[in-house]
């Protein structure tokens, strides 16, 4: 070990520190920890059973915490990480230069270290200049030319509609359907498939469908209605003898160029004056990503599991950038919700009586259930299968009516004795097995009620109610089912099983006619509000007993029998509706929705007047409603400024201009055997045939972009990112647009060079170096034998060799 100078300067100290392999080891450990936390998060045992995987572990995604709010990309591009990499590189440089002599035996480690440093430099270039995003490109637009009118253009998306007015003539054009795989049946290209668009045209009385085939303008033809019921639609050429119903109406295809692409993991506000075609963009910097920020709990609907969530405020100015015509409109972001949906809910307040109550029922075994009841809403005014109702009364008299009980009755008529009477049913033999037969006065009949079954749905008769009674006439006892509709009555032997009784049916004793009349009994529990707004009482009506009333106070449990209690949690006589974003609880968030259901609250200030509104996230900002692609949303929020102007606002991703507008000429899907059946695994490949605008006027040659085969054009790489799958259920043919990934890749070749260099270095250090050493040994042994030196010295020379040039990849370690 070299002697340490007494007064080492700070530079020497630093150099020594960076010359130490231990420093490198420590830095590597820190790197390991940093990247583990950023990627998988921090894992802590959450229970004693650490083998319960992953249930027994708590995962902390620190990267997503408030204050961090970083994507993986951002976490690994953050200053602590770059600093760490810089330190490791410095360490490698210093160690290599100071400690590892540049000799053939060390070429390996030199190459590895140099390769790593080149890789790091390449990465710095790559990641700091990285731009990536997605461009959606629609296949076609159609252009309609009618003499006397300007050409009209609309994107070829099913449902799009345009009307042309010429004097008092009005022609409507609607895109009826698209078919990306229309088989061509004749001509030179028979057997090929083409992209077809059907446009329904209504020109006064004339109604026809024009079919356009991309690439085959000569096959454009009309399909018209016929009177033939077997073939309601027919080709015009077959019926009229000409291909087009009206040759004045000319419809042709045009490409639909895309000028922009949406940048990944960015945020922006777009605004424009209503009616203007172009959006003005304002990027938002430092937006959170994973957590919810709202300044007031009253701004949102909080889910139960977030009931105690504290508000976190956000205040991000969204400054205008160059070229912004509306720099006098001031925008600030005051809230951000990662996963929420606008919802209308009932809240206390307002002028209207619309009583609402929240109750809880506690069972003696500890179970409990909560309900919301709304008196005027038929779907919400009873719960627990009709046992508990909620009513509003306007007078005391109404209350009495509700409490009135009438027993169920039997209307009996015995023909031969000419006796008619009405008997109340007070109890049944099921309930009271000791029940005796009741004699029907003036006849030799007596009866006993077995059970009552109200409101049964019977096919063909709607709801029916019945009572099963036993009838005794002298010695004979039989059973009768008596219905509220007497024509359904049945007699059967008394032993008949009530379930399979039909089999043993016997002739109806027509001498005795009985009709069942249902009684009226209030539901077991009725919560009654009114007539004064603060009045709340509970009517308890056990079957067969007179109802009793209990005053109810909010928060105080009331006994409702069998040990159960009912408590009113909240009651409001007057309620109204409010629309706010409802935060979806964590457990119900779908991972792949990502930020698609996020929203921000923007505070818009113009000439001193401020208004706040929620803006939902848009994956892509379209220019007009005609352009909305399937599975995309587009709903600008309209803002009325104080000077009477109307503005549209959209919250979306930042967008950037492509180096050249791109169009989609064709989209090809290759499939495995059996064709596309809805699963991605049946697809072999997708290819977008794209073209770029060259010299501002011509479309360049067609470039195929397919999975695993990206294409570079003018500074950006284009790759196949997503597609438009067909939806057979709705008859949608799909493949009407493509989503291209767009990105730059500076420094990729530098990184590749660095990694290749280190691979070669590793092979050298592990396999070439031992061979060099072996050759040297051979030479040494040969020399030894030649000089006839003793074995002892040979061993010494071996030891010396080991010390000077250890086999491990790093260089000399003799300094420690």
């Amino acid at each position: 070990m070299p002697t340490v100078p007494a007064n080492r300067g700070p530079i020497t100290l630093l150099l020594d520190l960076f010359s130490s392999v231990w420093t490198g080891i420590c830095l590597l450990i820190v790197l390991f920890i940093y990247s583990s936390i950023g990627s998988a998060g921090l894992w802590l045992p959450a229970s004693f059973n650490i083998f319960d995987f992953p249930g027994g572990w708590l995962q902390l995604h620190i990267r997503q915490y408030r204050g961090f709010e970083m994507t993986e990309f951002e976490w690994f591009n953050w200053w602590p990480f770059t600093t760490l990499i810089a330190l490791i590189c410095t360490n490698m440089v210093v160690v290599t230069l100071r400690r590892i002599p540049f000799k053939p035996i060390n070429y390996g480690v030199w190459m590895i270290h140099t390769g790593n440093i080149v890789l790091a430099l390449g990465s710095v270039w790559y990641f700091s200049a990285k731009i990536e995003g997605q461009a959606t490109v629609l296949r076609r637009a159609i252009v309609i030319n009618v003499p006397g009118s300007e050409p009209v253009r609309m994107p070829a998306i099913p449902g799009n509609i345009k009307t042309i007015e010429i004097d008092d003539r009005s022609i409507t054009f609607q895109i009826r359907s698209i078919n990306p795989q229309w088989p061509i049946l004749s001509g030179a290209d028979a057997g090929k498939k083409a992209y077809a668009v059907n446009v329904a045209v209504q020109d006064g009385q004339d109604i026809f469908v024009r079919q356009l085939l991309a690439g085959y303008p000569q096959y454009t033809e009309d399909i018209i209605r016929t009177d033939d019921p077997n073939q309601p639609m027919a080709r015009a050429i077959k019926v009229l003898g000409k291909k087009l119903v009206n040759e004045d109406i000319e419809i042709t295809f045009e490409y639909e160029p895309q000028k922009y692409f949406d940048l990944e993991s960015t945020w922006a506000i777009y605004l424009r004056e209503e009616g203007e075609p172009e959006w003005t963009q304002r990027p938002i910097e430092d937006m959170p990503r994973y957590n919810d920020y709202f300044s007031d709990r009253a701004d949102v609907w909080l889910p139960r599991e977030m009931a105690s969530a504290r508000p976190h405020t956000l205040d991000l100015p969204v400054p205008s950038i160059d070229g912004d015509l509306f720099s006098d409109i001031n925008i600030r972001i005051t809230s951000y919700l990662r996963y929420a949906q606008m919802q209308q809910r009932r809240v206390p307040g307002g002028d209207r009586i619309d009583p609402e109550v929240f109750i809880r029922i506690d069972a003696p075994d500890g179970r409990m259930v909560e309900h919301q009841l709304v008196a005027f809403d038929p779907s919400l005014n009873q719960v627990e299968g009709g046992l508990l109702h909620f009513r509003w009364i306007t007078s005391q008299q109404q209350l009495e009516e509700m409490a009135a009980i009438s027993f169920p009755k039997l209307e009996i008529n015995v023909v031969d004795s000419d006796v008619s009477l009405i008997e109340e049913i007070k109890t049944t033999s099921t309930r009271n097995p000791a029940l005796e037969f009741t004699q029907i006065q003036g006849t030799d009949y007596s009866y006993r009620v077995q059970f009552i079954q109200n409101n049964m749905p019977i096919k063909g008769h709607g709801m029916v109610s019945m009572v099963s009674i036993e009838i005794r006439k002298s010695d004979i006892t039989f059973k009768r089912w008596v219905f509220d509709n007497p024509s359904l009555n049945r007699d059967m032997p008394s032993e008949a099983d009530p379930i399979i009784g039909h089999d043993q049916e016997m002739a109806l004793d027509e001498n005795i006619n009985i009709k069942y009349v249902q009684g009226n009994a209030p539901p077991s529990l009725t919560l009654i509000a009114g007539p004064n707004e603060n009045d709340l009482q509970l009517m308890l009506s056990p079957p067969g007993e007179k109802p009793r009333f209990e005053q109810v106070e909010v928060g105080k449990p009331v006994q409702i029998g069998l040990g159960a209690t009912l408590s009113v949690l909240r009651y409001s006589a007057r309620t109204t509706f409010e629309v706010k974003p409802a935060i979806i609880p964590q457990s119900q968030r779908q991972r792949d929705v990502r930020e698609r259901l996020s929203m921000v609250r923007a505070e818009i200030t113009y000439k001193g007047a401020t208004q706040s509104l929620w803006l939902p996230f848009h994956v892509h900002v379209f220019d007009s409603e005609d352009e909305i692609l399937l599975r995309y949303n587009f709903k600008p929020t309209i803002v009325h400024l104080s000077d009477g102007r109307h503005f549209e606002f959209i919250f979306g991703r930042e967008r950037m201009e492509l180096t050249a507008p791109v169009v989609l000429d064709d989209f090809v899907m290759e499939t495995h055997v059996g064709g596309y059946t809805g699963q991605t695994t049946t697809v072999l490949n997708w290819t977008s045939m794209i073209r770029f605008l060259e010299d501002d006027s011509n479309w360049g040659k067609t470039i195929p972009v397919s999975v695993n085969s990206p294409q570079a054009y003018d500074g950006f790489s284009y790759f196949q990112a997503a597609w438009d799958p067909p939806e057979p259920q709705s008859g949608y043919g799909g493949m009407n647009y493509t989503v291209l990934g767009v990105g730059n890749r500076h420094g990729v070749n530098v990184m590749l060079f660095g990694t290749c260099l280190s691979v070669i270095g590793m092979i050298y250090a592990f396999y070439i170096k031992p061979m060099i050493k072996r050759r040297r040994q051979k030479a040494v042994y040969a020399q030894v034998i030649a000089e006839k030196i003793s074995d002892e010295v040979v061993l010494n020379s071996q030891t010396v060799d080991m010390q000077e040039e250890p086999v491990i990849i790093m260089g000399s370690n003799s300094h420690d």
């Binding site: 990627s39 457990s587 999975v707 790489s717 890749r745 092979i763």
Partner: protein, 590 residues
């Protein structure tokens, strides 16, 4: 030295045997005892169906392979009533009523099993409350209670039980928690859905479409019979009628449990199907091989042969007992030959190199380990390290095949098409190099583990002065390779072997990562996306880099090398298990 080695190997063997015994016993405990199969099930002959092709999600499979993939959706790793998958498929399809109350649907999620059993228990208390029960009712109650107990163990439940209102409301509630339980409910509902007779019939697409187009879906028998014959010829009409007859015979005689007539109908059907559109029908030979491969349970039982090899190799290494070592080598060679056959067969059947799902990744990486062991054993045939490579590879392969054998739900053996993004030569190279390096890391960890046992037994802190490949290449003064030296201690041998594997793993892992970046650059437009799977592959590499540098600096090189080799293996396993199943990123399909 021999004593130390003896201690190492004896304790390792005992540990091993206990572990395997425990795994086998616990898996046997969770298997439902198969009830006596009916006479019909035993006698019906489905061998003609082995060469019948079924269309399934862009692939033509053999009927056995198809039935096994469908039955797995229903009963997971279990066989329904002890039937073969092919028999169970047809039996449920043709006699669904018999299976309504058979415990056939597999509930994978363990807490979910308990909750379903609880819900059913509550239902049972309502319908058959204890107390006033007749003897008959008591018997029913006991048998249901018994089935509920078995449900918590095996996870099997009947569709009738799942349709219980209490269970249904439980499932509805659980389905709302997307983070924790929705997937578990989805798995049960898929099982219920697939088990419906009309679903089984609707998925049985065994009729090739007319014409020559390969992008037209195959047909079910019903849709074929409902339309006109493919060919408007006498021959075509005749086939159509014969098919109708065969199909009717099959279903009627099956339902009537007539063995002879059923067998005849099966044979007739199997001979008719290839005639309908011979141009589109796959080769009979390939279909029968596929059937054989699946009826041989994907040959994952080869783990038992590896186990045998391990026992002999351990004894050979421990006692320097040549006979045992040679027996070990031969058994190892036999196991490796079987494994090679399994890989080749799978390759032939699926038409692509088997490396597109977890099952294939695990078994193929184990096979790579076998290859490297064979090569290294040849190179090190005269060194003291001989036997260690095949031993560690045998352990790796055995564990891999045991995982595939005992966890068919997690490691699904079914053959399916690859995602379009995976059709790429760089991807092939990248994933194969990566799994190759992973297996090397495992092998190194096995030997490092032996080293640790050696140290625990009081072994000297020995290490090789010339580590890694150098120990085989560089010769000592007497002209031998360092590790051929008979005087090498057990510690030196183990440490040297660990380093040989570690160096290879180091290079291959790095190369694999670079190749992955090349592929990602041209398929996703970014070479490195900080995806969890990527980051943890890099983390594994960081551990290996730490190993190389720490080894240089510390005194007790052998110990630290062993510890870090095992740490590297743990990080690799974390990547493979935790990241794959929990933190799914872009690499979710591999």
């Amino acid at each position: 030295m021999t004593k130390r080695m003896l201690f190492v190997c004896t304790s390792a063997t005992m540990l091993f045997i206990t572990l395997i015994g425990w795994i086998v016993a616990s898996s046997a405990a969770s298997k439902a005892a198969p009830p006596q199969r009916s006479e019909f099930a035993q006698q019906v002959d489905l061998t003609p169906l082995k060469s019948v092709a079924v269309y399934d999600q862009g692939m033509l499979k053999s009927f056995d392979s198809f039935a096994s993939s469908m039955m797995q959706l229903i009963s997971g790793p279990h066989a329904i009533n002890g039937h073969t998958d092919a028999f169970a498929y047809l039996d449920i399809m043709l006699r669904p009523q018999v299976y309504e109350d058979v415990d056939a649907i597999y509930v994978k999620n363990k807490p979910m099993r308990g909750e379903i059993a609880d819900a059913l228990g509550r239902s049972l208390d309502e319908t058959l409350p204890t107390g006033q029960l007749t003897d008959n009712q008591k018997e029913i109650r006991t048998s249901i209670e018994h089935r509920l107990q078995r449900l918590t163990k095996t996870g099997l439940v009947s569709s009738r039980m799942l349709f219980d209102t209490k269970v249904q409301s439980l499932l509805d509630e659980k389905a709302r928690d997307l983070m924790r339980t929705a997937n578990a409910v989805q798995q049960i509902r898929i099982g219920l859905f697939v088990m419906q007779a009309q679903e089984l019939a609707g998925n049985l697409r065994i009729i090739p479409p007319p014409g020559t187009g390969t992008d037209i879906p195959w047909l079910t028998v019903d849709s074929f019979l409902a339309t006109h014959a493919h060919e408007a010829s006498d021959q075509g009409e005749k086939l159509h009628t014969q098919m109708q007859e065969a199909w009717m015979n099959l279903s009627q005689n099956w339902q009537g449990q007539d063995v002879a007539a059923t067998n005849e109908a099966v044979a007739q059907l199997a001979s008719l199907l290839p005639q309908i559109n011979p141009g589109l029908y796959p080769q009979q030979e390939k279909l029968s091989w596929e059937s054989w491969y699946f009826s041989a349970k994907n040959m994952t039982w080869v783990w038992m042969i590896y186990l045998l090899a391990i026992v002999f190799l351990l004894m050979g290494v421990a006692y320097k007992w040549n006979t045992s070592r040679w027996i070990g080598f031969s058994v190892f060679a036999l196991a490796f030959a079987f494994q090679t056959a399994a890989i080749a067969l799978r390759w032939y059947v699926s038409g692509r190199w088997p490396n597109s799902n977890m099952f294939e990744a695990v078994t193929t990486s184990a096979w790579f380990g076998g290859c490297v062991a064979v090569i290294l054993e040849i190179i090190a045939r005269r060194s003291a390290m001989r036997g260690l490579f095949s031993l560690s590879s045998a352990v790796g392969s055995m564990v891999a095949l045991m995982c595939a054998h005992f966890m068919p739900v997690q490691l699904n053996p079914n053959i399916s098409n690859m995602m379009p993004v995976l059709h790429d030569v760089w991807l092939y190279i990248h994933t194969n190099v990566i799994i190759f390096s992973y297996l090397l890391i495992t092998m190194a960890a096995v030997i490092a583990f032996l080293y640790l046992i050696y140290r625990l037994g009081g072994g000297k802190p020995d290490y090789v002065r010339v580590g890694g490949a150098g120990s085989m290449i560089i010769k000592s003064p007497n002209g031998d390779s360092y590790l051929a030296d008979a005087k090498s201690s057990a510690g030196q041998i183990l440490d040297g072997a660990t380093m040989v594997l570690m160096e290879l793993a180091f290079i291959l892992l790095w190369t694999g990562l670079v190749m992955g970046a090349i592929w990602a650059d041209h398929s996703w437009g970014r070479p490195w996306g900080w995806d969890p799977k990527e980051v943890f592959a890099l983390n594994t590499f960081i551990i290996l880099a730490l190993l190389v540098h720490v080894r240089m600096k510390v005194k007790d090189k052998g110990l630290w090398t062993a510890l870090l080799a095992i740490t590297g293996c743990a990080v690799m396993l974390f990547n493979w298990i935790a990241i794959n199943f929990l933190i799914v990123g872009l690499h979710s399909y591999a």
